[in-house]
């Protein structure tokens, strides 16, 4: 494991973090707050869509984001040989 590998690992991590945070921002601040009025014109299983994102959808999305990140990172750890086992 060289210093260059460590740096590549960190860059890959930052890219993944950036992607996940973008999703985190879009589902809550985007759909639930900034675009809420526009999305509220769409009906979604009895909810106004913007309202649904603000009260339920964003929370489900947060869950998916965390488990996705954990899964991808654990794979990245193994790929770069920096895992704990």
């Amino acid at each position: 494991m060289t210093e260059r590998d460590d740096r590549a690992y960190w860059r890959a991590n930052l890219k993944l973090v950036g992607l996940c945070l973008a999703a985190w921002f879009v589902v809550s601040y985007g759909f639930g707050i900034l675009l809420v009025d526009a999305l509220n014109r769409i009906s979604f299983f009895g909810f106004k869509l913007g309202f649904w994102f603000a009260q339920q959808g964003s929370i489900f999305a947060f869950l998916v984001i965390i488990f996705f990140y954990a899964w991808r990172m654990n794979a990245l750890d193994r790929k770069f040989g920096v895992d704990e086992d």
């Binding site: 996940c20 009895g46 603000a54 339920q56 929370i59 489900f60 488990f67 704990e84």
Partner: protein
């Protein structure tokens, strides 16, 4: 069996369970006491984190808040869950890799400075005591409402139980007790919600029932709710009244504040591996989400039930409102506790519940012969009275009491532990008396936990008038002080002692002052707390975000103007970024 006896039995059984767990999981070393020996399974840690995180306010008050705020209540739903994304992606894995005991310890070591550590300790103690006073108050409220015992006896009982398992078991005892407390509180929360969802919409899943159609009506619950609340002069349930910028700022302050709360962060020190810390944050959010996605359903359904009860006939008709003599039994019960208060303003012996603060509705109300809103409803009633409104059996009501106490005790214990660790580990062992042995430090930790419990009990018994107002402090200060310092410590190798300290102090002082100006707390507010007076239209609840941005800006500027951190600190940053080589926590590398 009458309700009171049943409640005593259920609550007593839950206490016996917690104490039993405490004896089974006694702490034998400081490693056990501070971080449960880092042997906690990630799923168990997720459950413990969920119980630690969900306080008496989440359990008792949140659904009620949402019921009366409608869309505006979303700030709490998103704000108190989204922080776990930040924790999982930005903090938890790296702090676990670093592998020590406390949050101030990280800040002290990363910024090679006891001054930085002391600033962190001050933030931690302020945040945690603010929070814990509210929990003890919650314990007292549940005791006095469900068990009809005086507040001080309820408080003493709650303190006694926390004392036994926190002092004896430390983090290890607290963790496994919190797992049990999570099970109690989530069961108590979801059972009434499921029954109410079935009664209203025929769907047993409250999350789906919220979007379902009303039985016998065919209309969507939310559409119908929007309609009836607007007919009574209220804002539509799915619309908000706060400005977009304020909703944005409050949500962000709560998210970042959550990620910066020491008692939440420290839970991720207890799992065996870095990969477990990542996964464990996901489990924690899953267990939290079960309650947090049920709450909006409970809120909307309870609001609908309440208005339907109060408005059995046509709105505005002479006999449209509920006749006071025909009020249901739960109405009487909660009138006795003061959570419902009826004043017959127009003397017609009927209950008129509407929005008398809406100027556009005044003419309509006048035409109906209404002379002001006649019913004051405390938001806590939404959860507390739910089982009675749904006509559920007494054991469910007893369970709700046990659940409320579990939520309060689990959070109080987690907070008390970080407070005691800040004293025994950060102040005593590291700064005042570095020579003490592990055994002496453990004893000091136990004494500090005991003292903190007594102090918390006092605050619960005799709450300073400002407790309710200072909740904004806990999140705002965590967001403006601790979160940026930890984040920069991991993601910026160049960040140094001067930058971090200047940043923390700027964030702290700015946020503190802003809240004081509008909330007063210790004195009369200097400016009226209304939107027109706020900086950028951001309320004191959301100002932590501005404090955080100032913290980042000052930290960057100062660190660029001063010397970079020493080589061994830069190596430490390299070390925590790579999972390989994580070791069990110990007091010295």
């Amino acid at each position: 069996m009458d309700l009171r006896t049943l409640t005593f039995i259920v609550v007593g059984a839950s206490f016996a369970l917690y104490i039993g767990i405490a004896f089974w999981t006694r702490a034998r070393s400081t490693g056990d006491f501070y971080v449960a020996g880092t042997h906690v399974h990630p799923v168990a840690n997720g459950m413990a984190t969920a119980a630690d995180w969900m306080s008496a306010a989440s359990f008792i008050s949140m659904a009620g808040l949402i019921a009366f705020l409608g869309y505006d209540g979303s700030v709490y739903l998103m704000g108190w869950t989204g922080g776990y994304v930040l924790l999982a992606l930005l903090l938890a894995p790296y702090l676990r890799k670093w592998g020590r005991f406390t949050v101030p310890e990280f800040i002290g070591e990363r910024y090679y400075s006891n001054a930085a550590r002391t600033v962190a300790v001050i933030c931690l103690i302020f945040i945690s005591f603010t929070y814990v006073a509210g929990q003890m108050r919650g314990v007292g409220i549940v005791f006095s409402r469900f068990l009809e015992v005086p507040l001080h006896i309820g408080l003493a009982l709650g303190m006694g139980v926390v004392f036994i398992y926190a002092v004896l078991g430390g983090m290890k005892g607290i963790t496994y007790t919190q797992v049990a407390q999570y099970c109690v509180l989530i069961f108590a929360y979801t059972v009434p919600a499921v029954f109410i969802a079935i009664q209203l919409t025929g769907n047993p899943v409250p999350q789906l029932g919220l979007g379902g159609t009303l039985l016998g009506e065919g209309a969507y619950l939310l559409d119908k709710l929007d309609q009836i609340v607007t007919e009574l002069g209220f804002r539509a349930y799915t619309d908000g009244s706060k400005s977009t910028v304020d909703v944005f700022a409050i949500t962000l302050a709560l998210m970042v504040g959550t990620a910066g709360l020491p008692h939440v962060i420290v839970r991720f020190f207890t799992v065996p591996k870095v990969s477990d810390a990542r996964r464990s944050a996901g489990w924690a959010l899953l267990f939290i989400a079960i309650l947090y996605t049920t709450a909006p359903a409970v809120g909307a359904m309870a609001r609908y039930n309440l208005i339907n009860t109060l408005q059995p006939g046509e709105i505005g008709a002479v006999d449209g409102s509920l006749a006071y003599a025909q009020r249901p039994p739960w109405f009487r019960t909660w009138e006795d506790t003061g959570l419902l208060r009826f004043t017959d303003r127009n003397g017609d012996d009927r209950v008129q519940y509407y929005n008398d603060a809406n100027p556009h509705f005044a003419a309509t109300a006048d035409r109906y012969g209404w002379q002001g809103n006649e019913l004051e409803v405390d938001q806590d009633i939404i959860v507390l009275a739910n089982p009675e409104i749904a006509r559920l059996p007494n054991w469910v009501i007893a369970l709700v009491a046990a659940g409320g106490i579990a939520a309060a005790l689990s959070t109080a214990a987690g907070l008390l532990l970080v407070i005691s660790a800040a004293f025994s580990h950060d102040l005593l062992k590291s700064i005042i008396a570095p020579g003490i042995t592990d055994r002496q430090e453990l004893a000091a930790g136990r004494i500090a936990a005991g003292v903190a419990i007594v102090l918390a009990g006092y605050l619960g018994w005799n709450p300073p008038g400002f407790v309710a107002q200072v909740v904004a402090f806990a999140f705002g200060l965590a967001a403006a002080s601790l979160f940026p310092a930890i984040l920069l410590g991991i993601f910026s190798k160049r960040m140094n002692k001067q930058g971090a300290i200047a940043g923390m102090l700027t964030g702290l002082v700015f946020t503190f002052s802003y809240i004081l100006v509008y909330k007063g707390v210790f004195f009369e507010p200097l400016r009226e707390n209304i939107a027109a007076n706020w900086l950028f239209g951001i309320s004191p609840e959301g100002i932590g975000v501005v404090g955080m941005l100032l913290n980042f800006a000052v930290a960057f500027a100062v660190s660029r103007a001063t010397r970079p951190p020493p080589a061994e600190v830069q190596e430490l940053v390299e070390y925590i970024r790579i999972p390989r080589g994580a070791v069990a926590a110990n007091s010295a590398h």
